[in-house]
């Protein structure tokens, strides 16, 4: 059984260069790119207007952003290695709150995840270490985990290192209830792991190119994936199959993100080398 998603809107040239990362809150989508600014667009209006630009956030470009689930805290990390923590005001506007300064070298913090309330930041490093910082305690590092030393390209909180994928893993994501872990990358398949046992419970095949981004829907029913060849896929976890494929572009999709539900319909956003952000909504049918 397949599902239908319609392109509802595309923000053309949201950034002057490749969009590397998307993060969402209840009413906003944050996008970062090879340029220095972070853009914030409103997702609760049909034309997705630009809400705020965080100018000169990262001079060398910004490769990853993250938002806390409650939507109050965001984090961004630049190619120069600097990490900024942003707080949303009552009006929804973001302001820099603090920085993780820890003598960070470039790549020391690569991919990040924030805890639900934004209190903690977990990040992978270029040499595969995972560190956790306390954002409220002036960005102090509170935990260090050593791994086998592979380049950590993706992280989700409560991370457990997946085994079984030989090629580089470029994206990992925990299901909302924390029972399943999805991991994907150069092997072009998505592996699902049972978190409690660590066993691989499913393999989702269908992508023909490297997979760069994964995101679970709120309910955990669907998994979203984006790949090097520009294809975006939606997977049914129950059926363990791909239920929708979108090919808006042949250019790399660097990031995919589910948006909060409006009414009954789920929607998502995808962005990448074509510098635009495309929004999709589930077709309501009849």
């Amino acid at each position: 059984m397949s599902k239908q998603y319609l392109t509802t809107y595309t923000i053309d040239h949201a950034h002057p260069t490749d969009i590397f990362s998307l993060s969402a809150t209840a009413s906003q989508i944050l996008s970062s790119s090879g340029s220095s600014s972070i853009q914030v667009h409103s997702t609760n209006q049909s034309d997705f207007p630009l809400f705020q630009t965080l100018d000169n956030a990262h001079k060398l470009g910004c490769h990853h952003t993250a938002t806390s689930r409650d939507g109050h805290v965001a984090a961004s990390v630049g190619f120069g290695g600097e990490v900024k923590i942003w707080a949303a005001g009552d009006d929804g506007r973001w302001a820099e709150r603090n920085r993780i300064v820890d003598g960070n070298k470039a790549g020391e913090i690569w991919s990040m995840a924030l805890s639900e309330d934004g209190h903690y930041l977990a990040a992978t490093s270029f040499d595969g270490r995972i560190n956790i910082w306390d954002n409220l305690a002036n960005g102090a590092k509170i935990r260090e985990f050593e791994t086998k030393g592979s380049f950590g390209m993706s992280i989700d909180l409560a991370c457990r290192y997946p085994n079984g994928l030989v090629n580089p893993v470029r994206a990992v994501a925990f299901s909302p209830k924390g029972t399943l872990l999805a991991a994907a990358g150069d092997s072009r398949v998505i592996a699902l792991y049972d978190v409690s046992s660590g066993d691989q419970v499913a393999t989702l095949t269908g992508h023909g190119a490297w997979i760069f981004s994964l995101d679970w829907s709120d309910t955990g029913e669907f998994l979203l994936s984006g790949a090097f060849d520009g294809k975006v896929k939606v997977w049914s976890i129950e059926q363990r199959t791909c239920v929708a494929t979108h090919t808006e572009t042949e250019k790399t999709i660097w990031s995919v993100k589910w948006l909060p539900k409006t009414g009954k319909n789920e929607g998502f956003a995808a962005a990448g080398a074509n510098r635009s952000i495309s929004f999709y909504r589930e077709a309501t049918g009849g």
């Binding site: 260069t17 590397f20 001079k59 190119a209 060849d229």
Partner: protein
């Protein structure tokens, strides 16, 4: 001493600075009664029996301690009353030490030829430079390479072109065996009307592969010139390329100049050095830049295009050094800033970092059409010409003689960075009447002989092998406190 260690730049820099500091101290202490007269000197160590090897490559040759008993220790003093030649030698040494110091400090390689052309009126002949560079290396107990000085240009070129030399003679190059790059100081003009493109290649191995497959002669992409500096380019290769880049008829479009590099931070940095000058010296090398250079490959789309379809894609992971290099470039290189001239390069570096991959040119050899086929495709694609069209007809380029202005400009600019010791130079040279023209003719004649020795390597070694003979003569002359340059000049 069995263990020979090549000193790091810093060690040689320190030695040079010590010499200069001692000179400065002496100057400041002129009134000091404890300092004897004539205390301004540069200590040198001459080899007495073993002639200095022009190209000290083996550790044994550079090992100074073994040979100590046979060394002559001499101080070249200033002002050295009654010995005007010694003042000149002092000036020569100061100048060479200064240039070596600068090269080491900026981490660039200079050739003996570059040094000569920094101040021909002081050095008078190339052999002066060759001789004293070797003496300095010997005195420091290091190989010449450790001074960042090379014997000659390291670059290679293949293709059809005609050189017109300063003395009006012409030298026609056929697209056969690659040869060492000609010294641009001796070139009056280059006629490149027989070729349609110029391809600068990062690595020698790729250069040789493409040259032996005749990419530059009778390929689908038309005839061209292949050039490599074997890695980061030296002055000679850059100035030769620069000369080619401005050698076109003003009425015609300039020949396209392409760069073929690895997909890694060093590949981009090497291309950037040709195009924009080295990161550190970009302000000084304005006249060595080739701003029209275009990136032929390999870029992310070239190496990643097939990923996902085949498993063994030949991609490599970035090392920690690669990541640091990429970040440093993004941080410091002017063209790589947001809105800068090289946004494509910025994007490629970011993509390298994102994917943590790099790829070498060899990856193309495994493609269906091989390395040559791939480069042909790219050249055709870039030139926007259908494959069957005759490239030579559309790229008719007339010969053009470089104006005197251009040539002297090039030279003048090389001299810009100097000037620190002008007073001293003038003082020292004052007594002599530098017969510049005669010396230059001499060198041209030498160069001709050099060039006619055909392919690379042999020319170089021949050139260097000649030197010990002269040096031996000179050694004796020096030991007697006489000036070497006269003998050399007469001999030549």
């Amino acid at each position: 001493m069995a263990s020979f260690r090549r000193p790091a730049n810093a060690e040689v820099i320190a030695k040079i600075e010590t010499i200069f500091e001692n000179i400065a101290d002496s100057l400041l202490n002129e009134e000091n009664p404890y300092v004897p007269v004539n205390d301004i000197f540069i200590p040198l160590k001459y080899k007495k029996h073993k002639p200095p090897n022009g190209d000290t490559l083996s550790p044994a040759d550079a090992e100074p301690l073994d040979a100590e008993h046979s060394d002559n220790l001499t101080n070249v003093s200033f002002p050295a009353r009654g010995r005007p030649k010694e003042a000149w030698r002092f000036a020569v040494l100061v100048r060479i030490l200064d240039l070596v110091h600068e090269a080491l400090h900026d981490n660039v390689i200079i050739s003996k030829r570059n040094i000569y052309y920094k101040d021909p009126s002081l050095f008078k002949t190339q052999l002066t430079v060759d001789y004293y560079v070797d003496i300095i290396a010997h005195t420091f107990g290091v190989s010449r390479v450790a001074l960042n000085v090379t014997a000659a240009a390291k670059g290679l070129v293949a293709g059809k072109f005609v050189l017109t030399r300063a003395d009006g003679t012409q030298d026609s190059r056929e697209p056969g065996v690659p040869r060492l790059i000609d010294d641009s100081h001796d070139i009056q003009a280059i006629d490149i009307s027989d070729v349609a493109w110029i391809l600068v290649i990062e690595k020698e191995s790729t250069f040789r592969t493409l040259a032996s497959s005749n990419l530059h002669h009778g390929s689908r992409a038309g005839d061209g010139i292949l050039l490599t500096a074997k890695g980061y380019p030296d002055f000679s290769t850059r100035s030769f390329l620069r000369l080619i880049s401005i050698s076109h008829d003003p009425d015609c479009n300039p020949l396209p100049i392409y760069a073929l590099t690895d997909f890694d931070p060093d590949g981009l940095a090497i291309m950037s050095t040709y195009k924009h000058g080295s990161l550190k010296l970009s302000h000084e090398n304005a006249d060595l830049k080739v701003p029209s250079m275009q990136w032929l490959g390999i870029q992310s789309r070239d190496v990643l295009a097939t990923n996902g379809q085949d498993g063994s894609n030949g991609l490599l992971r970035l090392s920690a050094r690669d990541r640091k290099k990429a970040t440093d470039m993004l941080e410091r290189s002017e063209g790589l800033q947001e809105g800068g001239k090289e946004e494509e390069w910025r994007r490629e570096l970011q993509v390298m970092l994102m994917l943590n991959v790099k790829a070498e040119m060899e990856i193309l050899a495994e493609r269906e059409r091989g390395l040559k086929g791939w480069v042909e495709e790219k050249l055709l694609e870039k030139s926007n010409l259908p494959e069957d069209e005759d490239l030579l007809d559309t790229h008719q380029l007339a010969d053009m003689t470089l104006g005197e202005d251009t040539v002297s400009d090039l030279r003048a600019n090389e001299d810009l960075s100097l000037g620190g010791h002008e007073t001293l130079d003038m003082l020292a040279v004052g007594g002599d009447s530098p017969n510049l023209q005669a010396d230059e003719d001499l060198l041209v004649a030498h160069q001709m002989g050099h060039v006619s020795l055909a392919d690379e390597g042999s020319a170089l070694s021949q050139w260097d092998e000649d030197l010990p003979e002269k040096h031996r003569t000179a050694d004796v002359a020096l030991a007697e406190g006489d000036a070497p340059s006269f003998e050399w000049d007469e001999e030549l």
